[in-house]
């Protein structure tokens, strides 16, 4: 060390015991390389969002019941009864996306600047582990609200695991805690989300940061490249690196406060954006999970969409290969990158294959994400502004063929019959089905002819009824639900069926 410490008696009470000055010098008052950019703040910004997730998660856990009977209601309670509950949940929801985006950008920064090369290979591998844990948080957290989205996306996710050859069945059982997605799955995902993964990520973050302190922040690539031996495993490289790195720290830039001030500014910016988005958008919650619903179209969280879309391109037996092969390949490439790439070139312009590989991966993901979003939009019917179930979409096609000549929906159609733009708010599916079968049984003076078999099959009528039931106005401008069904008794077109009253709504 340097000069001896000032008289120990001059130090404060805690300082004498804990050597705070030593700590200050070791952790904060360190020389760092000159020429660090704003891109270098991405790691700190990720850490800041992690801390936001940690704190908000600690409080969210107080209001959450990890049981299928109560999970959904506990979320509703949080949103409606707890002070700032809505914002709290929204911050945690959007925070997960922020974590993924920032962690990926940070990875990209380290990759583009060649900072994963000697001597930071191990820290890159730890970083890849952290990236995996972040995705694990996203996957397990998605199920917890136990709404339709949560349930069906997890159903798909765990099914992908079951396509693994040989061990797939056991793997799916292990993930779900049983053959069904249910109570055991929810506690399992909850435990992973709030105990296992946080435990793991805290250890890895501590290692990641400890290595940054020990090894220092990588010097600018240009500096390290100048006069470097061709490969980082060349004998002279270690000495070259030590010399250049020491030289890069002579500019008088200190970790504290020079670098930390920048990190704080970047973190604050990210947190402000996160809060504005959370405040403005809230967090989505759909209807409670309904395992019997066979018309729900599952969508995973957006950062899994490129992978989800990729699987759609490979139907049949290829799907399993891609489902396992692509993530495995990515894991091998990411983890192995610093081990097999030992050329000392750091700037991207000197690494055409690395640049090409990253572009293909990024570009491919963006294209797949775009395709997934476009696919999702195609299932949105403009007259409802919502994704229609496949049954309702079939009904929509039949409606256009058979009914639109007499009925107006959303401004288009014939005018012989009543307008049906908001009919779903007034009548149930059962009523609509019965009415289409035999309108004159409901209104003696109805001009509409009976469309019961053989005109249309029961299947087709049911599809039309489901489509009509979805006509309730666009999101945000929904018509108030006021179901007023009156059935003729007994229903003439369905002899033998018990007379119905209006269904509970």
């Amino acid at each position: 060390m340097s000069e001896p410490d000032p008289s120990i008696s001059e130090r404060g009470w805690l300082d004498r015991r804990l050597d705070l000055r030593g700590l200050y010098r070791g952790l904060l008052d360190r020389p760092v390389p000159s020429g660090l950019t704003w891109w270098h703040t991405l790691g700190s910004a990720t850490l800041a969002v992690f801390l936001v997730q940690l704190v908000s998660g600690l409080v969210l856990a107080m209001f959450y019941a990890p049981s299928p009977d109560h999970a959904y209601n506990s979320i509703k309670f949080l949103e409606q009864q707890v002070a700032a509950g809505r914002v709290l949940r929204a911050v945690h929801h959007w925070g997960s996306s922020a974590m993924v985006v920032l962690a990926l950008l940070h990875t990209l920064r380290v990759f583009a600047m060649g900072a994963y090369k000697y001597p930071r290979e191990v820290n890159w591998i730890i970083g890849v582990g952290l990236l995996g844990l972040v995705l694990g948080f996203g996957f397990t957290g998605y199920l917890l609200p136990w709404d339709q989205r949560a349930y069906w996306a997890t159903q798909v996710g765990t099914s992908i695991a079951s396509t693994v050859p040989y061990i797939g069945g056991d793997l799916a059982l292990l993930l779900k805690g049983g053959s069904q997605l249910g109570a055991a799955t929810l506690t399992r995902f909850y435990a992973f989300h709030v105990l296992w993964l946080p435990g793991g990520i805290v250890v890895l973050i501590a290692m990641h940061l400890a290595m940054v302190v020990r090894q220092g922040i990588a010097a600018p690539a240009r500096l390290l490249e100048t006069g470097a031996p061709a490969r980082t495993d060349d004998a002279e490289y270690v000495e070259h690196y030590a010399r250049v790195y020491e030289g890069s720290k002579q500019g008088g830039v200190r970790f504290w406060p020079d670098i930390i001030a920048k990190d704080v500014v970047a973190s604050l910016l990210v947190i402000v954006v996160l809060f504005v988005v959370a405040w403005w958008a809230g967090a989505p919650i759909e209807a409670p999970a309904d395992p019997t619903d066979n018309s729900y179209i599952p969508t995973p969280e957006w950062y899994f969409l490129p992978f989800f879309q990729l699987l759609k391109l490979f139907p049949g037996s290829m799907e399993a290969t891609v489902a396992i092969g692509v993530p495995s390949l990515l894991a091998v490439v990411f983890l192995g990158l610093p081990l097999f790439d030992r050329r000392s070139t750091r700037r991207l312009r000197g690494r055409p294959f690395a640049a090409l590989g990253a572009s293909v991966l990024l570009g491919g993901s963006v294209v797949l994400l775009g395709a997934a979003v476009r696919d999702a939009q195609q299932t949105v019917a403009p007259e409802t502004g919502r994704v229609l179930s496949s049954v309702a979409r079939a009904g929509r096609a039949t409606f256009r063929r058979q009914c639109a000549s007499c009925h107006v929906v959303d401004g288009s159609g014939g005018s012989d019959g009543p307008e049906l733009t908001l009919v779903g708010a007034r009548h149930s599916i059962a009523w609509l089905h019965s009415f289409i079968e035999n309108p004159s049984a409901f209104h003696a003076d109805s001009k509409m002819s009976a469309f019961g078999p053989p005109s249309l099959s029961h299947q087709e009528i049911e599809e039309i009824a489901q489509y009509l039931s979805a006509l309730r106005g666009r999101p945000g401008k929904e018509a108030a639900l006021a179901i007023r069904d009156t059935f003729p008794s007994p229903i003439p077109s369905a002899p033998g069926r018990a007379p119905q009253t209006s269904p509970p709504n």
Partner: protein, 188 residues
């Protein structure tokens, strides 16, 4: 070597560093502190609000429960217990609980209602018909049947009276709970 770093305090002077650098460092320290505090506050505000929400919650709107259908059917001059079920919203779980209160009337016109929870330690208070007083079996707390006053034993305050009203020959009460073991009547 710049091993020692640049001191941030005025007393250890650093002759090799210009005043300009020191000023810049001090500015950055202040900036980090202010912006960092703001970021921390923003990041934790919703969490803190939710965390402490039980302390600041609004008291639930009072609900009247009908306990007697017809005032002409009740016993006069002796306390009697009424059992009823109450729907309880326990956070996100809605349950129904069996409750009981003591009612007393001299004239079937004006009623008094007492919580059956002993003000000492929360045991269930019974009626001693022989001695004509309320009796708590746990530590022998004794209360007056008309007023709820303590007649003996350890209870720190009278039995808790509950809001009661008579409308069209029907008796309604508000079932409230109070902290036990203290001299003042504090709703929980």
């Amino acid at each position: 070597m710049t091993e020692q770093g640049v001191p941030l305090t005025r007393d250890d002077s650093a002759p090799e560093e210009s005043r300009k650098v020191l000023r810049r460092r001090r500015f950055l320290v202040t900036l980090s502190g202010v912006l960092g505090a703001f970021a921390g506050l923003l990041a934790t505000a919703p969490s803190l609000m939710a965390l402490f929400s039980p302390v600041f919650r609004k008291p639930a709107a009072s609900r009247w429960t009908k306990v007697i259908d017809d005032v002409n059917t009740v016993d006069v001059g002796v306390p009697f217990k009424v059992d009823f079920t109450e729907t309880i919203n326990d956070a996100w779980i809605e349950t129904r609980a069996l409750r009981s209160v003591w009612l007393y009337t001299d004239d079937a016109v004006s009623f008094r209602a007492f919580s059956s929870v002993c003000t000492h330690l929360g045991c269930s208070v019974g009626h001693d018909a022989e001695q004509k007083r309320f009796h708590c079996p746990c530590h022998h707390g004794l209360f007056d049947v008309k007023t709820g006053e303590v007649l003996g034993g350890p209870p720190p305050r009278p039995l808790d009276s509950l809001p009661v009203k008579v409308v069209d020959g029907e008796v309604f009460i508000q079932h409230l709970t109070f902290r036990t073991g203290i001299a003042s009547k504090v709703e929980t």
